[in-house]
Symmetry: D2
Subunit: 407 residues, 4 copies
């Protein structure tokens, strides 16, 4: 369709709107609760007067994003930071609180890296007691997820080592395997365990789950409800993320995404801010797969960013808008023409089909979709006009945020 | 043992010699036939008057390396360059020729990247006829290997694409899977299929078998005699190769190595020339695994370098000497003390056990092992003194080597 | 302007057309003669029946690109491949030949890497005779450039080493400094010496001019007519190219570009094919600089790609179209609004000004500019319809191209 | 000398001892005060009961390192963390305190990244008031350095941006240039300004002083007493650090080092823990330069590591021991033989001269040097036997360290 846009601009624009609307209608982005809190780098945090400090403030902020974008009904929670209590006793209150702000809990992340006990790892720690503690926490997170009606539990393991020789990497692999199998056994029938990988940081010599291959082997060993979670920032320079996505889809092992962007390492930058064409290509792989199968790939798509400098609610809205734009561009790829060009090895034509879709300005179509759903055409402008930030800056003024120091 | 070397230097040196000798005694390095031929970069080849042009010259050169090092009895062959004929008819002559030079054929590499037909790939090509041609060539290579008494067939697939959109990566994965399964079916009971991975070059946007995870999935799908081949130069910057080795060993899926070194990409530099400590750590993982299991890991260890500037025979001897030195250093690691330090999370002690072994000068022990086997203490000096290069420079003067031009 | 495009679409589109036309009117892309010849990787060349083998065929092909795009009047020549003769005697014939095809010679690249003598480098070689040979060739290239009316001489030095210890890097720096000063002394008053840098390949341990800092120091030492040439593919992963461009502009030391794209190393892929947003940002730095200064930065903008798989003329037209699109997107950045947003540290607003321009579909405006200049709206389609490729495939069928082999 | 070690082992060992002793005698490593404090990653700090919290505790810990190694008489201080007061009034007390622990203050680092005001940079900030504040702090640091008798002021600028478009990189370059010139004007005649570079973190899109070329231009613009500081962890993957060192030495612009090691990014790992051969090569460049010039290069060599997991005093001693070993290996390179091999382009011989020195076990020679200076042969063992850690663990038990949380 984009190819012919020059000849019948009105008709092409209409067709574009139809396809964009169909794509956006079914697309949801989950918001991270920690994306509304003060975060930073090891060199310190830059605190914001409107940052959220409580789970309620996080739900409130997330509710604003959903209010203006219409596609973010769920909020990922981090167990230690958001759910200090007991699932059996406290889940109802959390659900009610979320509902008051128009959202509901999403995936649950166990917190396995921050406590002093995890200095040498969690589920791969040499000490059995710490492995057990980590497992208990994952199982508790699974219980929380069930009580909150969330399907996905998303552990990220910071486990690894900083210096050669200090860790028995094969033994740690076996501990991880055993622990994940036991965690999997605690899943309810509707639940999934999504296993994330990351090449480095905070472990700098080796990370126990360093790449998608390791995550896949662990997920396969854990059980049938385990999948791999792809964090777009967790790759080596030059690695082809969309190829990994394609392989995981083909293996039936892709569970979802943590979306963000990066330039050098895991920089947790706004999705689409550094390399938008890569985001487009990842979406293209997913849409091609779903089109071929005739059904959804069942992926959880979560934003995972820590924006230290931009206002957090604004940046989350900016992210959703960028994500929708890239997803819409991928949705108007002429996949039939692409298959034909590939089959005939017409490289330039195949490439130009991608480029045509990417060059198309889909923003009018996205705005039309928003209008049709009763949403503001420009969610960021509408949010800014609402006075929300000014209000919470006053309300949250009393909160004492803790600045941090490198040393 | 290295830890105590300062206290009883003579006894420690004796113990070191014993362990080094035990390690070197069972260690073999396979030589690549193409390592004796003129190679280069896309910007041209720098030709050498002593370069080998025929399989006989390659056997002759390899025979020299084995003569002086005593640990390189086999020569890896590349089907297209070395075995143009028919296995049934010509294998005996090849075997006899090798024997004349004191070596025998080793692993067989199908040549799947050079012919014009492979412009868009071999086993993952869109065209069924080219896929069949590639498969036939692999099957012929398997036949060659069987006829030559070689167990390992080592295909490297340059398949991939150079531009986004031009290739259906999932479809190509399925073609590769199917082709490798058919190749596996042609294996004899003693044969293995070793599948290599490489992140880039000559395909610059995506490579169909880009990393160890892809190679592992394909090997598992191909059949029980397929394993992964680790080329040390085929990794992303910052990737932890020894961890990959540890995982593949634990999965029972490591088949062997192509040893070389690199700084930036796949530079095919002399093994140990850039990062010797990394080579040591890789060997440490293998030796720890074998020690734990009480048996050999059954790995094929091949050199795969293309030295454009150094004299090829000399550089191969240099490589063997470097490799033996790093392997010997890994063999004197105090693994019991290491296990204790790891178990008690004494990081500095664990690290220093590696560093102690690496800091130890094992060259006297290696020389002692050579003496005991009747070899020259300094293989490079002995080779240089032999006059071999001067002789072949004269003999090969008539051969016409082809210089190449970038454009 | 892009920001307001939703409110007065017609007026905004008109303004966009005006700015795009103004930008494109003054923008020229130089074509590389070697981009029309058969090239490849070290694993071989994939030959094309329409590839150019002579300078005349290269001029003919380049003339086609210029005929359909209207912005490529000059052709960069490589001394050894294109100008085997003597400048004094042969320049007139070259000029006449180029003119016959509607183009003229552009920058002249000395060829300093291919001859066997350059095994250990050219101007940084340990042997004085080879340094002199290299200098003589550069001086001859300068003479060729002057005779052809070309201002820019663009040496790329492959000089470097492959293994630690083998080169005296400081001494080589001094040889390069001395040689470039002597080359500079041969420049005519209108000529420039553009010094290129590259981190690796074909030298794999160290490259004598590895980064922009080294190129800048050498250019400053060479003389006032020396500048730095930025090849977009010659950077480390993660390096911020637009920042380097900004610094070189601020220092008055940027001479021009070799445009291409890459994913991993120096892959010489089609400009804009991998990371179009990066190309946009580079152009944005240039346009911002020129806008601020009120004058042209005087940059030579050359395409430097070796497309092994795509048809070479088609891919060159595709490149020009992509380049114009990215340049046009950069030209519609609202720089006044950007300055205001930066000054007030409104990060999201500043970022969105870039994103707005990048999201705008400038292709209608580019087509309008082409129409106004009497060019085909779709240069690639027009070229394809011309029958040129079919004709030269027949004409060039007799030529014998040399396939290459890795080993 | 290493080359002949097999033939006259005793004589060779003696010669080795002489050269190692001569090298170590003049070599000093400065300790970072912050290396004794609790540090961590953005995901949290792992607190140590023996970590230092006050400048006095840091001097005490550093004094231990110097007591056992004999080569670390100075301690680098960070202005904000260590010198909260006024130089005029408080310097005498700081000097007396250091002296009590057998050390003295070394280089002074202004702290320009932690305060909330520096959210968008310090000397490159858009706001003049913040630029002035940063300049005042640098000038105050210079005053502190003078009052403490320290020659080197070592600012590290975290300035940069996280998203494209948000910063005017050229303008920020000019602000940095102006600010550094004003800082330089405050230097006393014996003082130096060492300018550090870093490619990323905590700024993730662009860093204002990203590489050695930028640092060099700024240092040249600042004035004759400005030099470049090379932090070994602040480079792109694959970058040749020893080449940068060689160029800076040749330009007379190298001021010193921050030593550490890394695998992926700026991981601040123990120097020599990941790639010891690289450390050796850097030292080789320095020693070759000094040997050639016949005088010291005047470099400040500082350790800059943040060891989150190892005990801090122990790891600092381990670092000094590793550093001395690598420096001693570089000192026994046979530079005359190297020059000859390079001149004749005997690559393997040249390379083996490095490898011979690196393979030599210099630990006996280092131990001999320690004995001759009345130091313990094994500083780490001696320190451990002293009971210091047990004592300070008790004494520092009352201190309240602050654990940090990512979000």
């Amino acid at each position: 369709m984009p190819l012919s846009s020059s000849h019948h601009p009105t008709r092409a624009a209409d067709a574009c709107e139809v396809r964009v609307a169909a794509a956006l209608e079914g697309w949801r982005l989950e918001l991270p609760s920690w994306g509304f809190a003060d975060t930073g780098t090891r060199f310190g945090k830059f605190l914001q007067p409107t940052a959220a400090h409580t789970i309620e403030e996080k739900f409130a902020d997330a509710g604003q994003v959903h209010l203006y974008t219409g596609c973010c009904p769920t909020v990922a929670l981090h167990a230690q930071w958001d759910l200090p209590g007991d699932a059996a006793g406290d889940a109802r209150a959390v659900l009610q609180m979320a509902a008051r702000y128009g959202v509901r809990p999403g995936s649950i992340s166990p917190t396995l890296f921050q406590d002093q006990e995890y200095k040498h790892g969690s589920l791969a720690n040499e000490q059995p007691g710490i492995r057990q503690r980590a497992l208990d926490h994952i199982v508790a997170s699974i219980a929380w997820a069930r009580a909150l009606g969330s399907s996905d539990v998303t552990p990220w393991f910071a486990d690894g080592s900083n210096f050669p020789a200090t860790a028995d990497m094969r033994q740690r692999k076996r501990w991880l395997t055993a622990g994940l199998a036991r965690a999997h056994a605690a899943l309810g029938p509707e639940q999934r365990l999504l296993i994330e990988y990351k090449p480095f940081e905070p472990a700098f010599y080796h990370t126990d789950i360093a790449d998608w291959g390791m995550a896949l082997l662990l997920a396969r060993a854990a059980g049938p409800q385990a999948r791999v979670l792809v964090d777009t920032g967790h790759h080596y320079a030059g690695q082809n993320i969309e190829q990994i996505v394609a392989w995981l889809l083909d293996e039936g092992m892709l569970g979802g995404f943590h979306l963000n962007d990066r330039r050098y390492a895991d920089d947790d930058l706004t999705f689409g801010s550094i390399d938008p064409y890569q985001g487009f290509r990842i979406f293209a792989e997913i849409l091609a797969f779903e089109r071929e199968r005739g059904s959804s790939a069942g992926l959880a798509t979560m934003i995972d960013q820590s924006h230290n400098l931009k206002n957090k609610v604004e940046e989350m809205i900016q992210t959703v808008m960028s994500g929708q734009e890239l997803y819409a561009k991928a949705a108007i790829i002429d996949f039939d023409a692409l298959a034909a060009a590939r089959g005939e090895q017409r490289l330039i034509d195949a490439e130009n089909i991608y480029k045509d879709a990417f060059s198309t300005d889909v923003r009018p179509a996205v705005r039309a979709w928003r209008r049709a759903r009763g949403l503001a055409e420009d969610p960021l402008a509408a949010f800014r006009a609402s006075g929300y930030l000014e209000r919470v800056a006053r309300e949250r003024a009393g909160h004492t945020a803790t600045a941090t120091s490198y040393a």
